[in-house]
């Protein structure tokens, strides 16, 4: 950024250089020429909104996208790297700690640490004594005092996290990459982890730290690089002092212009009230991802749910819909208590749920557009015993035209559609059924700008018709433009509530990152 910084860089030696890396996917470019250096004894933070290209870059560094799959070059020290696989990247000295722990849960701590690099005796058998000794030494490095013969499954998430760091250290890495390492940790555990990372840095291991939690980053990282839309926007250094507002500004960047319909609010009476929802964490046992959340939804209202990845927004909505188990929580529809334990009941109550991951639980890939559209409403199309095919086709056709799905016809397989059109088909599935409340989880993720605008317009029309909408989104501008009220989730509770006009991106992000 400034001269002082540049001098610094010259003084210290770069361990890892990323030079003009471009990564293309069919239809989009994830990285548009990214360059940055990682210096010796440095903790570098990478920040950016979802889809900014951080994960893609990490996948390149860790060899998941092999050499020649991208353009540009990666230098480790002086040598240029041509990783053909994650193993090659690991052998070169890049160790990666993933957001979702990838330990072998049924092996012991020691085995997990040395996995793939078992020390052998002269006769070629595994030297178990050395395995245990090595594992203990690694655990000491991360400050964990633990019996190495314990099964990893029995450890707490934070201990598992430390074991996976010990495992990475065993490979003697030059560079350690941590992707959202604190997402499953409590605050104290996170503090402990950061202390360990500092110790590692002082021992000569450079770290790349990816996180959405700006408070952590500002406390820990020597330098912060901001990504947006596949390019490096700016970098900040700790010496110059971090300015949270500026970092956030750079993360968010440009505003989308006039994509949104003019929001006419005709809020009616309360249609849904959720009280004290508590939802267990889907991956880490004994932890709750949603601790205690209560909110209300009114007729014709669009309620936004903001928060970071892992804040529990999707889980909250899934639990309301009965797609995920909840620990406790009461639900009232039109003031009357209802018990929803599975999606079938939710649909009967007039709820609809557009899930976050289209491929995972949005559409049925083996079916065509018509079959996917009528999945929810099929029961109403039965004449005597059999499905009334003419009626089904007519219904599917009317929504196909109404939502302007771009495809040859309703008999086209859904897999041959683009993401936006697939989303329209899934939306049609819910619109056909008699819904009063529609829950949209990231409705515009991975969708081109034109279709996005169409979806916003549709949302406006739906609320005009008296339907209430809950929308989860990680795109702040979208939330700000569409929602009448925004609840910000963080650490399993509602951190803040903003009504229309009260919120701006900085306030939202500050609330979400609990700073």
């Amino acid at each position: 950024m400034n001269t002082k910084n540049r001098e610094d860089r010259n003084m210290k030696q770069a361990v890892l250089c990323v030079r003009n890396v471009v990564k293309r996917f069919p239809g989009t470019i994830a990285l548009r020429g990214v360059s940055f250096d990682l210096q010796e004894r440095e903790i570098l933070a990478l920040v950016g909104e979802n889809g900014a290209g951080k994960s893609t870059l990490m996948k390149i560094l860790s060899g998941i996208y092999p050499y020649r799959d991208y353009e540009g070059s990666i230098l480790l020290g002086e040598t240029e790297c041509h990783f053909s696989s994650p193993a090659a990247s690991e052998a070169a000295g890049i160790a990666m700690i993933y957001q979702e722990l990838n330990l072998e849960l049924d092996l012991t701590v020691a085995e997990n640490i040395v996995l793939g690099h078992y020390p052998k005796t002269k006769t070629g058998r595994i030297d178990w004594q050395k395995v245990r000794a090595d594992a203990s030494a690694m655990l000491y490095e991360v400050g964990l005092n633990l019996n190495v013969d314990m099964t990893v499954r029995n450890l707490s998430p934070s201990m598992q996290q430390l074991v996976s760091i010990a495992r990475a250290l065993y490979r003697k890495p030059k560079v350690l990459i941590l992707d959202e390492p604190t997402s499953v940790l409590t605050e104290r555990e996170a503090d402990n982890l950061m202390q360990i990372i500092r110790t590692l840095r002082d021992k000569g291991i450079s770290c790349i730290y990816i996180s959405h939690k700006l408070d952590e980053i500002f406390a820990l990282c020597d330098r912060t690089v901001v990504f947006r839309d596949g390019i490096k926007i700016s970098e900040f250094s700790k010496q110059d002092g971090y300015d949270s507002a500026r970092v956030i500004e750079d993360m968010i960047g440009r505003r989308l212009v006039s994509m949104y319909p003019e929001r006419r609010v005709q809020m009616g009476e309360e249609v849904l009230r959720a009280e004290h929802f508590q939802v267990p964490h889907p991956f880490s046992y004994g932890k709750n991802i949603v601790e205690d959340v209560s909110f209300t939804l009114h007729k014709g209202e669009i309620l936004g749910l903001a928060g970071l990845v892992g804040a529990g927004r999707s889980e909250l909505v899934s639990a309301i819909f009965g797609a995920m188990p909840k620990k406790c929580g009461k639900l009232y529809l039109d003031g009357k208590p209802v018990e929803i334990t599975n999606p079938e009941q939710a649909i009967a109550c007039g709820l609809g749920f557009l899930s976050e991951d289209r491929k995972k639980n949005g559409f049925v890939w083996s079916m065509n557009i018509r079959e996917n559209m009528t999945l929810v409403t099929l029961r109403t199309l039965v004449r005597k015993v059999f499905i009334d095919r003419k009626k089904e086709s007519r219904l599917a056709d009317s929504y196909f035209r109404k939502l302007q799905v771009k495809a040859p016809g309703t008999e086209t397989p859904i897999t041959s559609l683009s993401g936006g059109n697939q989303q329209k088909v899934i939306l049609a599935k819910w619109l056909m059924s008699d819904i009063k409340i529609l829950m949209l989880d990231e409705p515009t993720r991975g969708i081109d700008v034109g279709t996005k605008a169409e979806i916003y317009k549709l949302m406006q029309e739906l609320t005009d018709g008296g339907i209430s909408i809950m929308m989860i989104s990680s795109e702040m501008p979208e939330l700000l433009a569409m929602c009448d009220r925004i609840e910000v989730l963080g650490k399993g509770v509602i951190q803040a509530e903003f009504s229309r006009g009260e919120a701006d991106e900085i306030r939202l992000l500050q609330a979400a990152s609990c700073t």
Partner: protein, 341 residues
């Protein structure tokens, strides 16, 4: 676009869109080949023979098609086939029950086995392969315990005369009966809400669940239907053989799965039609028949079956690859269009 090109596109469309396209091609080629080698292959008598033999497989294939399309599997059917036949045989001979009651009893045994399979798969969430493998041993074991290896013999004449009954004095009853079951199976699969649920569960269970489909119930039903049909086929076979054999139905599950897969049913679920599966059953018997007529030994026949099975799956994968290639190409083209407009 020329007319020629258009018809070619339609053919490839048909080939890609219809799950039974592979088996139809295979069957046509095979019948042509078999008729060339042995002109009497298509004689009335031989065709009836083939249809009669396929009838027994066909009844089980109807159930297996449903299970495979949900993404499940049933390895117990060979044993349930034997157990159903055995129970109704014992009911007829030792307990002197009327034949319809005895048959019903055999079917109830099938129902119980199917229910147990369903409970293991749905409630206990045991992988279908393991759960039904367990049931395979249990049912086969029950057969051994009950018979100590000795066939139930002789069965009442009225029962033995059941299977050879001929419709219109020419068509053995098992042919129209099995076709009737296949047609009912086809209607259920293609035109009812339940059938659509079966496809949805196999295609994407999570999406099906969110769409309000009762997965547990649907899966339960397919396992029960399968076992009842297997027991039914076993009972019919015992009528044909004149005795309830303890070793009958050994290896049936593999034959039936093979027929279904050759018929275009995807073992990973979500794809396939009853027509395809039925043609698969027909093809298996036609192949056995022609190989036997050609005096190729049973040992060689197994090799042929293995090769055909692998080839048909290869064809299926090739089809999927084509579909995938299409689906990655089309959105790009569409996006381009979008940009232009």
């Amino acid at each position: 676009m020329t007319q020629d090109k258009k018809t070619r596109i339609n053919f490839s469309d048909w080939f890609l869109r219809r799950p039974e396209s592979g088996i139809v091609l295979i069957l046509i080629l095979f019948v042509a080949f078999a008729t060339c080698v042995n002109p009497s292959f298509l004689s009335y008598k031989n065709v009836i023979n083939i249809l009669r033999a396929s009838g027994f497989t066909l009844i089980s294939v109807v159930g297996m098609a449903l299970i495979l399309i949900t993404g499940g599997l049933d390895l117990a059917i060979g044993s349930v086939y034997a157990l159903g036949a055995l129970i109704s045989g014992i009911a007829m001979t030792s307990w002197n029950l009327p034949i319809p009651v005895a048959i019903l009893l055999g079917l109830i045994v099938g129902l119980i086995c199917g229910t147990l399979n369903g409970v293991m798969v749905v409630k206990a969430e045991i992988p279908p392969m393991i759960a039904t493998l367990g049931m395979q041993y249990i049912a086969r074991g029950a057969v051994s315990v009950l018979t100590k290896g000795v066939p139930i013999y002789p069965l009442p004449d009225a029962f033995i005369n059941l299977e050879p009954t001929k419709l219109f004095g020419a068509v053995p009853i098992v042919i129209p009966f099995s076709i009737l079951i296949a047609v009912i199976g086809h209607l259920i699969l293609s035109s009812t809400v339940f059938g659509r649920s079966v496809y949805a569960i196999g295609g994407n269970q999570d999406a099906a669940r969110i769409s309000g489909i009762n997965i547990a119930r649907s899966k339960m039903i397919v396992y029960i239907v399968m076992s009842v049909l297997a027991a039914l086929a076993g009972i019919l076979m015992s009528s044909r053989l004149g005795s309830a054999e303890p070793s009958t139905g050994t290896g049936l599950e593999m034959k039936v799965i093979c027929a279904a897969v050759i018929g275009g049913i995807s073992v990973s679920g979500g794809l396939g039609t009853m027509l395809g599966a039925s043609l698969g059953a027909l093809f298996m018997e036609a192949l056995t028949n022609s190989l036997t007529v050609m005096r190729i030994s049973v040992y060689w026949q197994n090799i042929v079956f293995g090769v055909v099975l692998v080839l048909s799956v290869l064809l299926d994968q090739y089809k999927r690859q084509l579909i995938r290639r299409r689906s990655t190409r089309e959105p790009a083209a569409e996006k381009h269009e979008h940009e232009k407009s």
